[in-house]
């Protein structure tokens, strides 16, 4: 009995770490949706770019890990900026279908360019101390990379909420999300604000990409599943609600891992799909009340 309970606690820890990754990815969807009301289908590319940039910087160029981490996620952020300028800005005034099409085209493009540049074979990051387990309370253990996942999601969520509420950039983002034309009338550079929203979202996706790369392998498709689950988390949290999105990501990871404990492993990715269908049918606004939806 004791053994079962210990296992459950262990599964919860792993589930929350996976959920932290979904949160980091989901925040990008939520911010973009909050401001522009569409789904950024190229978000998976930011994850892959973060992972491959980190791989190149550490394995081939031998740059210290902390510096490489910052550089790689900044590169993902830069990709977000470029993405907005190239694929979304020219389509700002068109129907809702066109940004989806150009987003998915960019995602496929990046995936295959990476596959051509690095080859289709998966890479492993050189394992140093990141795969070590740390003992908790003597009985439970947590992988160091899982600890980083939880910490980075926590720090990112905290900084983001503070930024949105108390800084001038945050006020600009909130104003643009509330009413784009009115924000322009008040002299807010909305184009610049929207670009920054993409930079923030892609930066966080890049961070997620690096951490996911530590846990699995680096392949051109590394961003695919996390981006779908990230979107589902963003939907469950209520698109445009950053705090809710972070909580929903943690919950999704948690439930996936707890349910898979009792179900065959192959159904793991189907759980998120069932969650998506359930929320689309019964609670499309997300888990949390509407008045929380403003950033």
């Amino acid at each position: 009995m004791r053994g079962q309970f210990d296992l459950l606690i262990q599964i919860c820890i792993n589930g929350l770490a996976a959920g932290a990754m979904y949160s980091l990815v989901a925040v990008g969807y939520s911010l973009v949706y909050g401001v522009l009301r569409f789904i950024n289908f190229a978000h998976a590319a930011s994850i892959a770019i973060g992972a491959y940039a980190f791989l190149t910087l550490t394995t081939y160029l031998g740059i210290p890990i902390v510096l490489a981490f910052l550089l790689a996620s900044s590169l993902a952020g830069l990709f977000g900026w470029t993405l907005e300028k190239v694929a979304y800005h020219p389509l700002r005034r068109s129907s809702s279908l066109t940004p989806l099409l150009s987003g998915i085209a960019i995602a496929i493009l990046i995936e295959n360019v990476l596959a051509l540049a690095f080859g289709p074979a998966p890479y492993r990051l050189s394992r140093s101390s990141e795969s070590d387990a740390i003992q908790l309370l003597g009985r439970y253990s947590i992988l160091r990379v899982h600890l980083y996942m939880l910490a980075s999601a926590g720090i990112a969520a905290m900084l983001l909420l503070i930024m949105l509420r108390y800084t001038s950039l945050g006020r600009r983002i909130r104003a643009t999300a509330e009413n784009l034309e009115l924000a322009q009338v008040r002299g807010i550079d909305t184009d610049n604000t929207i670009s920054l929203v993409f930079v923030i979202g892609s930066f966080l996706a890049g961070v997620a990409g690096i951490l996911i790369a530590y846990e699995t392998q680096v392949t051109p498709q590394i961003g695919f599943l996390p981006s779908i689950k990230g979107f589902i988390a963003a939907l469950v949290g209520g698109l445009g609600n950053v705090g809710g999105t972070v909580i929903a990501g943690l919950l999704l990871g948690f439930f996936e891992n707890v349910l898979v404990w009792q179900l065959p492993t192959v159904y793991k990715d189907s759980i998120a799909f069932v969650v998506l269908i359930g929320f689309l049918l019964f609670k499309p606004g997300g888990l949390f009340p509407n008045k929380w939806k403003r950033f």
């Binding site: 289908f41 020219p90 389509l91 099409l101 295959n112 189907s270």
Partner: protein, 291 residues
């Protein structure tokens, strides 16, 4: 001998041309006229292929029945996804079909007792119609041409009736349509179902023609390929542009084959080209619309 090989080679390409055309007609209509983005057509095509394969292997069902049932299976799957997501906003359909695509692929991989998992399903008998067996590319070609014509008839019939104009209005001005007492969501759902039905029929042909199905043939790259081919068509002329797209696709992919790239590199190059096609067509349309 050389001439026989050449005939078979062209017939083989033409069979795929017409099988793909059926998927692309439906996809073009749902994308351009109804304004909904489905990333799940690879899965609908796969559901059709697996349904037809399983029905013939286990129940010895004939080509015609299996194909109709394959279309219906794809139709059911798409209506389920469409019903869940289209009520809200078109964006949700795109992400729901994307998630559905991945779940379908995993199911085909892992439900080994039925689908034979990663080994794929082999031993699908060739199509038999009116007592004659379509084992060769040349003998399968008439079947695929007739079914492609069937697709053209369905899509053009719909697009030229009042229903077709309502469908156009459901993207151009849904509120105006609602004031006439019509429901844009129901129309969009209907178009999605028809489009998926055609994809299922095409999948069944694929199973009967290749005699082997594998989960990897029905992933995101398949969906994107169909989408790229369908991009050149327009809302008011959903068929003509598809032929241009199909022609461009097959010429490019055969040219790439002649250049002797390794298989993975060729796959990547094709996907890069399809992605660029989608992106450039979208940008070009936008430029054009502004003038």
């Amino acid at each position: 001998m050389e001439a026989v090989l050449n005939v078979d080679y062209f017939a083989h390409i033409l069979v795929f041309f017409f099988i793909y055309s059926l998927v692309v007609f439906g996809l073009s209509y749902s994308t351009h006229a109804a304004g909904i983005l489905s990333l799940g057509h690879g899965a609908f095509y796969g559901i059709g292929a697996y349904t037809a394969a399983l029905l013939t292997i286990h129940f010895n069902v004939g080509f015609f029945t299996a194909t109709v049932l394959a279309g219906l299976a794809a139709l059911l799957a798409s209506s389920f996804i469409g019903f869940c997501s289209l009520r809200l906003k078109e964006d949700y359909l795109a992400i729901a079909t994307l998630a559905f695509l991945e779940v379908t692929r995993q199911l085909l991989y892992n439900w080994s007792s039925v689908t034979n998992g990663a080994y794929g399903l082999a031993g699908i008998p060739p199509a038999q119609l009116f007592g004659f067996e379509a084992r060769q590319p040349v003998s399968f070609l008439p079947i695929s041409i007739i079914l492609s014509l069937f697709g053209i008839v369905i899509i053009t019939r719909i697009s030229r009736t009042p229903l077709g104009f309502s469908i156009l209005a459901s993207t151009d001005d849904p509120i105006a349509l609602q004031t006439f007492g019509k429901r844009p969501t129901v129309l969009k759902l209907g178009v999605l179902s028809i489009s998926a039905f055609l994809a299922g029929v095409a999948g069944s042909q694929y199973a009967f023609y290749v005699n082997y199905v594998h989960p990897n043939d029905f992933g995101l790259s398949t969906s994107i390929m169909f989408l790229a081919i369908a991009m050149i068509a327009t809302a008011r002329r959903p068929i003509a542009g598809c032929f241009v797209g199909l022609l461009l696709f097959f010429v490019t992919s055969e040219l790439l084959r002649l250049l002797n790239f390794p298989a993975e590199v060729k796959g990547n190059l094709i996907q890069i080209l399809t992605a660029l096609t989608i992106f450039l067509v979208v940008l070009f349309r936008e430029r054009h619309a502004k003038k």
